[in-house]
């Protein structure tokens, strides 16, 4: 597996609130439900994988590495996808 190096860009990415991530109910179908707000949304396979990593307390680097390994994508692509998805998560949990 490719060694992950923290980049300046990556350090600037704020992860969603860990308590919010922890409470999410994730289904294998990709259906995600927040029991506190009642909001629900669907995530594709890579989104679900990112959410599971974040729920497990992984750092951004660890999430990128896991995503790259699971979906066989090169690190910059995985990193771009993760950062984009995290941005969507932040908007969803504002």
């Amino acid at each position: 597996m490719e060694q992950q190096q923290p980049s300046h860009h990556r350090q600037a990415v704020a992860l969603p609130d860990p308590a919010t991530l922890k409470r999410l109910a994730l289904s294998d179908s990709g259906f995600v439900f927040d029991p506190v707000t009642g909001n629900s949304f669907t995530a594709n396979g890579s989104g679900l994988a990112i959410l599971r990593q974040l729920q497990g307390g992984s750092t951004l680097g660890e999430v990128v590495a896991a995503l790259g390994a699971e979906f066989e994508v090169v690190s910059p692509v995985a990193e771009r996808d993760v950062i984009e998805f995290i941005g969507q998560l932040r908007n969803a949990f504002k």
Binding site: P35, T37, G38
Partner: protein, 357 residues
């Protein structure tokens, strides 16, 4: 010889699609808890109230005099019904009848009819024109609200930093969103004509509407809270789909409000969760909401809990909070034989042996 079944009278059978009363949902909760072990007496104000014709929930039904006819007329009618078929417990479900009914509690009790209602003062404390005072006392955020008596207010509203859209509300009922001065003045006139002065003007909060239903024990505790977030609304902003949620922040705010009121009886607390995630108090209703059947679904049958409290019986067990249960309303026609409708129109009642099937 078998003991007569417990008779529970329930008002608010106007389960109309755009703004349903809670009575039919309360009856449904009690029927599911007790089956035919209780007798449900449906009370309505109009022979076309849909709940009156759902005979699987109402064993018998009666028409009441409108609250506008006054407390004495209401008491006389309730006494007639009680004479025809004795009522053990009365569970009112409409805002407009509560000011009259709380005054009739001693009279009803003397006749053997139990209730579980707030006092007149508690009722007044959560009224729209005193809600801001209550919110301050309980430390709960609420959108700024002004009581106005003249439509001229809207001429200078924007200069006074009251920007559109605004919410224009009646003291008792009705709330309309006004997007400009014309709409605001129109709303003011319509609401003032129907509900009187003052009219309330409230800053509009954008966010997600989350409501909590529960029962106050009269000593400051909130029992059996059930929370719901609206997922889809009608043109009048009423929920036609919602989902059970559980948020400690909403629960905590509601407990503070109920403690400040020392509320006794069913209650619905309407809040908006704004874009910052803060809850803003919108309204407190002195009764169960029309979505109360959700409480049965999540294992917290609040109408059954209310019945137990009214009867001084041990409360039924309540399940832990269960977020993630949806309700979705739908429209369905109930077929009513002309003979049953005629009876209700002419006699003001339909007893179980003359009911339509």
């Amino acid at each position: 010889m078998t003991a007569p079944r417990l008779a529970v009278a329930i008002t608010g059978m106007n389960a109309v699609p755009d703004n349903p009363g809670a009575g039919l949902a309360v009856a449904r909760c009690l029927r599911e808890a007790h089956g035919r072990g209780i007798r449900i007496v449906g009370l309505g104000y109009d022979a076309l109230d849909p709940g009156l014709h759902r005979r699987e929930y109402c064993d018998s039904v009666h028409l009441l005099s409108y609250p506008g006819s006054g407390a004495q007329a209401l008491m006389t009618r309730l006494a007639e019904i009680h004479e025809a078929e004795p009522i053990d417990v009365l569970l009112p479900c409409l805002d407009s009848e509560l000011p009259l009914l709380v005054g009739l509690v001693p009279d009803l009790a003397e006749r053997g009819v139990r209730t579980y209602l707030p006092s007149a003062e508690q009722l007044a404390m959560r009224a729209k024109d005193r809600l801001a005072e209550l919110a301050r006392e309980a430390g709960v955020a609420m959108p700024e609200t002004l009581a106005i008596t003249q439509a001229d207010f809207f001429r200078a509203a924007e200069r006074e930093e009251w920007r559109y859209p605004l919410v224009v509300k009646g003291v008792f009922h009705d709330a309309r969103i006004a997007r400009n001065r014309d709409e605001a003045e129109q709303a003011f006139r319509a609401i003032a004509a129907e509900w009187g002065l003052p009219v309330l003007v409230q800053r509009r909060i954008v966010g997600e509407e989350c409501n909590l239903a529960g029962i106050g024990d009269g000593r400051g505790a909130l029992l059996g809270e059930v929370m719901m977030k609206k997922r889809a609304v009608t043109g009048r902003g009423k929920a036609w789909a919602g989902i059970s949620i559980h948020d400690e922040a909403l629960s905590d705010i509601s407990r503070r409000l109920v403690a400040a009121l020392k509320w006794r009886g069913p209650i619905e607390i309407e809040m908006i969760r704004d874009s910052q995630g803060e809850y803003q108090l919108i309204e407190i209703n002195p009764r169960f909401p029309a979505w109360i059947y959700l409480s049965q679904g999540v294992g917290r049958n609040l109408p059954d809990l209310l019945l137990a409290l009214a009867l001084d019986r041990p409360p039924p067990p309540l399940a832990p909070p269960a977020p993630g249960l949806l309700f979705i309303r739908y429209a369905e026609e109930t077929l009513v034989p002309l003979a049953a409708f005629e009876r209700l129109m002419i006699d003001g009642q339909l007893l179980s042996d003359t009911s339509s099937k």
